[in-house]
């Protein structure tokens, strides 16, 4: 009857099993690592390419409706990922507008969802980074006869650390997100299973070793990202 109370033993056994799985390069773990990184890297990089020009433009210029646009971006920075998952699901589902593409339950669908989540984050942080540059610098650069393109370039240079920090935040969110990738990816083994969806599955099936192994790797990634962020912010002028 007290077998159940051995749960703490299961955790210790789980940690040992996890170390074994990591050290022996278990193929399932590798598949999960590969899918997670592929989806998160592609989506974050493509989002950065789109968002940095937009974000720095908004940060640089003054125009009508800027305050409203800023509020909108800030709202979308905290957009609930599951809702994004639902939206992308409906768009890609056979009945949806893009249903004929046949992309539901693929890594492409996951990339699209993660891309849409990352765009506002990188726009928002990019804009804030440009705006936070000392106005005196802006005036100095302009007084030296710089045109707008040169000013933009100087501001980017001075805020590059904050921009990279924004990128890391977007990547960290992408790799640890669970709801959206579960909905549009379907958690298919060897195909669309990520760290997070795999942990959900293995926990519900009582296979704690695998769940803990993936948890250890995911937390390590989060730690490395945060370490990088702290270094960046500490060194920022």
């Amino acid at each position: 009857m007290d077998n159940k109370r051995k749960m703490s033993n299961e955790i210790i056994e789980g940690i040992f099993e996890a170390l074994y799985l990591i050290v022996t390069l278990n193929p399932e773990i590798w598949s999960v690592i590969e899918v997670s990184f592929r989806v998160s890297l592609i989506s974050t990089f493509l989002a950065a390419l789109v968002s940095l020009p937009i974000g720095s433009f908004i940060g640089l210029r003054e125009f009508r409706g800027k305050r409203f646009l800023s509020n909108l971006i800030n709202t979308f920075m905290g957009f609930p990922p599951v809702v994004m998952g639902l939206i992308v699901f409906l768009l890609l589902s056979t009945g949806g507008i893009f249903g004929s593409l046949g992309l539901l339950y693929s890594t492409s669908a996951m990339i699209i969802a993660q891309f849409l989540l990352a765009v506002p984050i990188i726009i928002g942080t990019g804009k804030a980074a440009i705006e936070s540059v000392d106005p005196a610098l802006k005036e100095t650069v302009l007084s030296l006869g710089a045109n707008e393109r040169q000013l933009w370039w100087e501001l980017i240079k001075h805020s590059k650390k904050s921009i990279i920090a924004g990128f890391l935040v977007a990547f960290g969110q992408a790799i640890s997100e669970v709801g959206a990738v579960m909905i549009v990816g379907g958690n298919i083994r060897w195909a669309t299973r990520t760290f997070t969806t795999s942990i959900v599955l293995h926990t519900r099936m009582g296979e704690f070793g695998m769940a803990i192994a993936l948890g250890i790797i995911l937390v390590s990634i989060a730690f490395i990202l945060n370490y990088g962020l702290t270094r960046l912010q500490g060194g920022d002028k």
């Binding site: 009945g95 992309l103 519900r204 099936m205």
Partner: protein
């Protein structure tokens, strides 16, 4: 050394240009990856199967599908959901084929109600096992081995009402949930009304079979019961040692049999489904070769699923038709 310095000078003079080239290269790199990804998603040799958590969690599909992929080169992606969800995915054409266990809803799926095009065609019976009720070894509801199903459900109801039993229900529109609701209806109980808003007595997990079994095991008062198919139970019974089979079919009763059917999604309704690959897949499952594989899949020496193509009849609550057998015969030949 001077060459390197010259290069450095060039780079520092054209920083912006180099940055743009760098960004374009990165963009091209990740863009290419994305396009490759898009192409692989549309691979005609990949079909999507929506199935119940019971067939997936039991490991049966992981055992069968590599054989199929090896013989045909067709990859099968599995969406492990409940029967209800699998049927909806099939109706929407988001998957190519479904493998489920709820005969009445399968019939509705393949019948042309009011002259409308049916969602699926040519259902084939694949296998069956049976449902059992497992619970804490304390057996607070005092179920006995020879109790028939009406007695079992009555005892459970009284024990739940007395606060001595917590029943864990899938609560998710799955085939197992449909079966559970029909078992309660034998004694005139509708759980949603009987224990409305009382999760301590009747817990709806809203998750798959393995998760629900896990929750039954974790029951804080050691009084959890749940309805489960034998395949999933045999997969996990080593892990959840304090749970035991407390009720199963008694001789002459067929209420607890659990037949599984496979249904291709109708090409006429959803032209994008990979119908030819699906025909080969169902041909594989129902061929003597596939059926034999199902029969030989065991855990601890016990068979999890029994092959049933052409065998299922009304005593399994799942009659086979002549058309079913004749239609699939040609697709089975590839695998014999």
């Amino acid at each position: 050394m001077s060459e390197r310095r010259a290069l450095k000078t060039i780079i520092s003079e054209h920083k912006a240009a180099f940055l743009i080239i760098f960004i374009l290269v990165l963009g091209g790199f990740f863009g290419t990856f994305f396009i490759l990804d898009l192409l692989s998603a549309r691979n005609p040799n990949r079909i999507i199967l929506a199935t119940t958590t019971s067939t997936y969690d039991s490991g049966l599909l992981d055992y069968l599908l590599p054989e199929f992929t090896q013989k045909t080169g067709i990859e099968v992606s599995i969406l492990s959901v409940g029967t209800g969800q699998a049927l909806v995915y099939g109706e929407n054409g988001d998957v190519d084929v479904i493998l489920v266990h709820s005969r009445s809803r399968e019939d509705a799926f393949v019948n042309d109600i009011d002259g409308q095009t049916p969602f699926g065609i040519n259902r084939a019976c694949v296998m069956y096992n049976d449902f059992i009720i497992v619970g804490d070894e304390n057996n607070p509801a005092e179920l006995l081995q020879n109790d028939n199903i009406t007695t079992v459900m009555t005892k459970l109801k009284f024990s739940i009402d007395a606060g001595n039993t917590t029943f864990y229900s899938r609560g998710d529109g799955s085939g197992t949930y449909s079966k559970e609701i029909s078992l309660w209806s034998f004694i005139g109980v509708t759980p949603d009304i009987e224990w409305f808003g009382e999760p301590d007595k009747y817990t709806e997990t809203g998750q798959g079979m393995a998760a629900t079994l896990q929750m039954t095991y974790q029951d804080a008062n050691n009084q959890g019961y749940t309805l489960i198919d034998r395949g999933t139970w045999l997969t996990f019974n080593d892990t959840y040692t304090i749970l035991q089979i407390l009720a199963e079919s008694v001789v002459g009763e067929d209420n607890l049999l659990n037949p599984y059917g496979v249904i291709p999604v109708n090409l006429e309704l959803h032209p994008q489904v990979k119908y030819n690959s699906v025909l080969r897949f169902v041909g594989f499952l129902t061929s003597d070769y596939g059926q034999n594989l199902i029969n030989t899949y065991t855990k601890n020496g016990e068979t999890l699923f029994h092959a049933a193509f052409g065998i299922c009849n009304s005593t399994h609550n799942c009659p086979t038709t002549e058309k079913e057998i004749s239609f699939w015969t040609i697709y089975q030949q590839e695998f014999t």
